[in-house]
Symmetry: C2
Subunit: 307 residues, 2 copies
């Protein structure tokens, strides 16, 4: 058995993964608010101890630990160079965990881990070339070529969210103009929903948001869509168009066997993917929603020893 | 020794490549006007016989033949599925040449061959991950990952010219809107030069074009630039900007060790590449002009047996 850790900007999820690549037990903790490196590492460590306790497994039975981290990582040295939302700076994450648990610790980028999970144990099992697109605050990418994670120089391959699709578009946080994620991330979709809902408050979409105490999240649009909301239909059609442009860009460059979609809204499954397939049109590249969902990152991290 | 063939839309170039990956002898013929598959294949075959005669080599000393073809190719079966400018349709190019010369014949896409040449014998020698960008009528791409050509599904990876960078841009011949090559190919640059020259005929650029009997080609702008032409400076700055967007897109996705530029205007060397490097800014990916120039495709084709 191995432990996989999926570290995000606001929480950490830890899971025990067996030899069939299934998650036997998982637990998570909030990490938002951790003010420095030590506090965050302590939180991760306590979460691992929680898992060991909860699962009743002996630490002797744990073969290795893997962790997927957001931001800029150095895989060879097992460190996080920097990360937008986390108080890490050249933090030797792998060494700290290894010293604590006496196990070999593998580290990689979170998007790579999710792709590695789907490739080894999920919907993309058995394929050679796979791209995982994670829709969230931004758009993350993990690329598998010939069965290996494509790390690229300084471990920075797969930044597909920062492919410019609109040279006259909005400035992205990265500094470039018109990056794909400025219009097709879940955050961009939510912003669009908010603007439309303010514009047309007496719509089905407006009701859905009111019922949710004014909170708009990735599900709001899809709930309204299911109730036949016309405003939502038009937002969604526009979103699929913008999502499709970037997906097709990835296909033009890599022509992978499959593009797998992860992140919260990928749980909508064919509600999201079927219109996207229609938008892309005929292509030998399959488009699929993640089959491991929230466990993709945990399983991929636990299997980093296979690289 | 091996024979490498670089088949283009208007001509075919054939070269004899030695074990040091150098072109010992080369010859070429025009292919424009060949009205059917047979005429084109006969032209290629006669070009190979010309080379053998010219070089004085014995056919016994030729180990294999490789050919790079534009369009959609099937590498395993050695055929050209279709090609925009050539009268090929599911043409068994490799078999026809093999039957004629009694040698093993390898076939791949022309952009892949150019990349393979630079990777094995040119500026990108010894690197793992390389992208070759060929600037011409369109923008071709050849991708090497971990020392192997990335073919992708149906051999269609590397279509980097069709990455959309302007969702509100011009329609491309491929049907998509705002493809990179609609604004950054050599053809797009020439069109821009033509429009500007008509607009400001009494410029240095206008003189350069008049001296060339009104013909505008990839060199016109660079000649005018060297004479200090202000109009040309502004066209060039805009072009570098548009070229840079697409190059950076490729870097975001693949973060290769090097991007190599080929095609006629890459012969301008640092006149083209230095401003491009400045536009891209700090990146671990090196940007370089092709070192094999017109021989890249021939050498890459001759070395297809190394795949």
């Amino acid at each position: 058995m191995r432990i996989g850790i999926d570290l995000g900007g606001t929480s950490v999820a830890v899971g025990l993964v067996d030899d069939n690549y299934s998650v036997l037990c998982r637990t998570s903790q909030r990490t938002a608010g951790c003010k420095d490196e030590k506090e965050l590492m302590d939180r991760i460590i306590s979460c691992i101890y929680d898992l060991i306790k909860k699962s009743g497994v002996s630490t002797d039975d744990i073969e290795s630990i893997g962790i997927g981290c957001p931001g800029s990582t150095n895989v060879e040295q097992g460190l996080v160079v920097r990360s937008g939302n986390l108080p890490f700076k050249n933090t030797r994450v792998a060494k700290i965990l290894s010293d604590e648990f006496g196990k070999k610790v593998y580290l990689d980028n979170d998007a790579n881990c999710a792709a590695w999970g789907e490739y080894n144990a999920g919907i993309a099992k058995g394929l050679d070339n796979v791209v995982m697109v994670t829709l969230g605050t931004g758009i993350g990418g993990g690329i598998i070529i010939n069965g290996r994670i494509l790390h690229g120089k300084e471990n920075h391959a797969g930044e597909i969210g920062h492919v410019v699709i609109d040279i006259n578009g909005k400035r992205c946080a990265c500094g470039r103009i018109g990056c794909w994620e400025t219009v097709a991330s879940t955050r961009a979709l939510i912003e669009r929903v908010r603007a439309e809902a303010e514009h047309v408050p007496f719509s089905v979409l407006g009701n859905v948001i009111s019922e949710n105490n004014g909170v708009i999240d990735g599900r709001s649009l899809f709930i309204a869509l299911k109730r036949g909301c016309k405003v939502s239909k038009s937002i969604f059609a526009e979103y699929i168009e913008l999502l499709g442009v970037g997906v097709m860009n990835v296909i033009e460059v890599l022509r992978p066997d499959m593009v797998v979609f992860g992140g919260g809204i990928s749980k909508e499954g064919d509600t999201l993917i079927a219109p996207l397939r229609e938008n892309i049109g005929e292509t030998p590249t399959r488009l699929e929603a993640s089959s491991l969902n929230d466990n993709a990152g945990i399983i991929g991290a636990a299997l980093l020893h296979l690289i």
